[in-house]
């Protein structure tokens, strides 16, 4: 019970997700089946990994508008590298992850040592990354090893492979953020950079690590996009940037830093995906769906902000 009280907002998010999922299954024409579950998890994993990428930067009081461009760049790189011999593919995966890490670290260097605010840094670097993606592959194309794709996008004895992937990633991240020095210092910096610095935390290095992690998770998203679509597409970026920010906010990660968990970010991503799937099956005219998606997003964010009406002294709003 104590655990529940401490994680109240996370509990609400997950409850909302379960309700939405139940409605989704109820109105889905094919009902509950391994197939439906697998598709749902595959879609959720795409945005979930991007949300984790966004989470790391938001945790240390930043925001990353280059998540989408890095996803596009790594997706395009994967479409060149993930084909051929098993050894070559393994090397290719490592190369793509390194590419993502370099992109993330470049953002980090500009923010930490160049002292350019994160939002502007990543806006400008995002333009560079999507330009590079476009340079590598002006039109969608290329190929991905199909055996690998099949292994990661179908189910294993009735359990979607993407679900296993997501759960393993979440477990590893939650444990390492809660119990490692690096993880705890990231939370500390997000809460108060000054206090963290006074305590002896090497703020610059930890922030750099957070941006690097963000780059790696953007690259993982790019890899998983390749698994699902089997091509490299330089134009997939923008949706990931915007939805990853919406996902972390829905998942209770504070944009002011220091609050939230990877589990929350992924739950937010799954909620967003479920809402758009619900729209698809809801019988609304297709042309009206984008509007309602936006409306639901706005309402969901406002619900999270209803706490402001419980505040007795308006001074508390301005921290």
């Amino acid at each position: 019970m104590n655990l529940l009280r401490r994680n109240r907002s996370l509990a609400i998010t997950i409850a909302a997700l379960l309700v939405l999922f139940a409605i989704f299954i109820a109105i889905h024409p094919r009902g509950f089946s391994v197939y439906v579950l697998t598709i749902w998890f595959n879609q959720g994993t795409l945005l979930g990994l991007a949300a984790i990428a966004q989470f790391f930067v938001v945790l240390v009081r930043g925001v990353d508008l280059s998540v989408g461009p890095i996803v596009a760049l790594t997706n395009v790189a994967a479409s060149y590298l993930l084909i051929g011999s098993p050894g070559g593919i393994a090397l290719g995966i490592v190369a793509v992850l390194v590419l993502g890490a370099i992109c993330g670290l470049a953002n980090g260097v500009a923010v930490v040592y160049g002292r350019v605010p994160p939002i502007v840094t990543t806006l400008a670097s995002g333009s560079i990354f999507s330009g590079l993606a476009l340079l590598l592959r002006p039109t969608p194309g290329g190929g991905i090893d199909e055996n690998l794709s099949d292994a990661l996008t179908y189910d294993i004895y009735g359990v979607p492979a993407s679900a296993i992937l997501l759960i393993v990633v979440l477990l590893a991240l939650t444990i390492s953020l809660r119990f490692s020095l690096l993880g705890l210092t990231m939370y500390a910096i997000g809460s108060s950079e000054q206090s963290a610095s006074m305590t002896g935390v090497r703020v610059g290095r930890v922030k750099l690590a957070a941006y690097g992690m963000s780059g790696i998770f953007s690259a993982l998203t790019g890899l998983y996009v390749s698994m699902v679509t089997l091509t490299g597409d330089p134009a997939i970026g923008p949706a990931y940037t915007l939805n990853s920010i919406a996902a972390v906010v829905l998942g209770g990660v504070a944009l002011t830093g220091g609050v939230g968990s990877p589990l929350g970010a992924v739950a937010g991503a799954l909620i967003l995906k479920t809402i758009s799937s619900l729209m698809f099956f809801s019988g609304l005219p297709p042309l009206a769906q984008p509007f309602f998606e936006g409306l639901v997003l706005a309402v969901a964010i406002s619900l999270g902000a209803l706490g402001v009406f419980r505040i007795r002294n308006r001074l508390e709003l301005f921290q």
């Binding site: 605010p117 840094t121 330009g131 919406a246 042309l287 936006g294 001074l315």
Partner: protein, 331 residues
């Protein structure tokens, strides 16, 4: 009977030229000169007055929209709903102007500006009342506007007519100077007056520095926020009307290419993205610089990919240069 304290008692050295104008504006202006001269090497027509005036005309669209974005950024917030505010306004204006009823057609421009004001009002309400972070709220508003536009037009190019006044403002010339540029100068003069001669302007800068302090000082923080977003919406719509006149049509996604340049023009002009500091002159030169840069990349027939890379790299390099110059100046 208290005597007025002599204000000149504290001797302060007069700020030098560089301090008053700001290093960013000087660097930017130098950048503009380099761009024009560099362009003249590739294409001699660059130095002709006609070409420069044409660039100023194109810069006006960006400049008017960036003015609104600057007000919001000074506040310490950001408006990401600019793209579909532009497209939405363009659709409203062309649809109304294409109406068979002349009374409705005459109202096209005022209602277009009202569209921007309404969008700004919604933006401001979410940020001021619900205290949703502006970045997320304006993103959601942008998504709703996109949805509404798609629903209304069915995803096709919207039909209608362009009001003659919009065409005249965007394409006409007065004494050889493009009307769009004159309009931008008027908007700029009004903005300078608003920022430096009114209480609102003082509040705007104060709020960007510390909302908490301004609230404690008794200012109506929520009203200021809503007013600023409404102003920004109106300016985005004004820019959209100019764009509609310039391209002689409204089309889906016409505002999409403007989000990055608008924010870039404001921040490379030296306005802090965190709010509270920045000069309008900076935004003005920033808009001209961005326009010149994209024009030269277009003349050099760069691919879209190379353009994006150079564009991003230039912005990043400028911001890094400002920061390192500040550091060496010891501030």
């Amino acid at each position: 009977m208290s005597n007025p304290v002599p204000t000149s008692a504290v001797h302060r050295p007069r700020p030098g030229f560089v301090d008053r104008i700001g290093i960013s504006v000087l660097l930017l202006a130098a950048g503009c000169v380099v761009l024009v001269l560099g362009g003249a090497v590739i294409y001699p027509g660059f130095l002709s007055p006609g070409y420069i005036l044409q660039q100023l005309q194109i810069a006006s669209f960006l400049g008017v929209i960036a003015t609104g974005a600057m007000l919001v950024i000074l506040l310490g917030e950001i408006d990401l709903s600019v793209p579909w505010t532009i497209t939405g306004t363009a659709i409203v204006v062309t649809t109304l102007a294409g109406s068979n009823n002349p009374a409705i057609a005459d109202l096209a421009l005022p209602l277009g500006l009202a569209t921007g004001a309404a969008i700004g009002f919604v933006n401001g309400l979410g940020v001021a009342l619900f205290r949703v972070p502006a970045m997320v709220w304006t993103l959601a508003v942008n998504a709703m506007l996109l949805g509404a536009a798609v629903f209304y037009t069915g995803g096709f190019k919207p039909q209608g007519a362009v009001p003659w006044l919009a065409t005249y403002a965007a394409l006409g010339h007065t004494f050889g100077v493009p009307n769009a540029f004159l309009l931008w100068l008027i908007v700029g003069a009004m903005t300078l007056w608003l920022l430096h001669r009114t209480t609102y302007g003082t509040y705007l800068y104060a709020m960007g520095n510390s909302q908490r302090a301004l609230f404690l000082a008794g200012a109506r923080v929520r009203t200021i926020t809503v007013c600023t977003f409404v102003l920004a919406g109106i300016l985005s719509s004004l820019g959209a009307i100019l764009l509609t006149g310039y391209t002689d049509q409204a089309y889906q996604g016409m505002g999409d290419p403007y989000l990055l340049p608008v924010i870039a023009a404001v921040v490379i002009g030296g306005t802090s993205i965190l709010g509270g500091s920045g000069s309008y002159v900076g935004t003005f030169v920033g808009a001209v610089f961005i326009t010149l840069l994209s024009s030269i990349l277009a003349v050099m027939q760069m691919s879209d990919a190379a353009r994006q890379i150079i564009f991003g790299a230039t912005i990043l390099a400028m911001l890094l240069a400002y920061r390192s110059s500040e550091k060496s100046a010891g501030t």
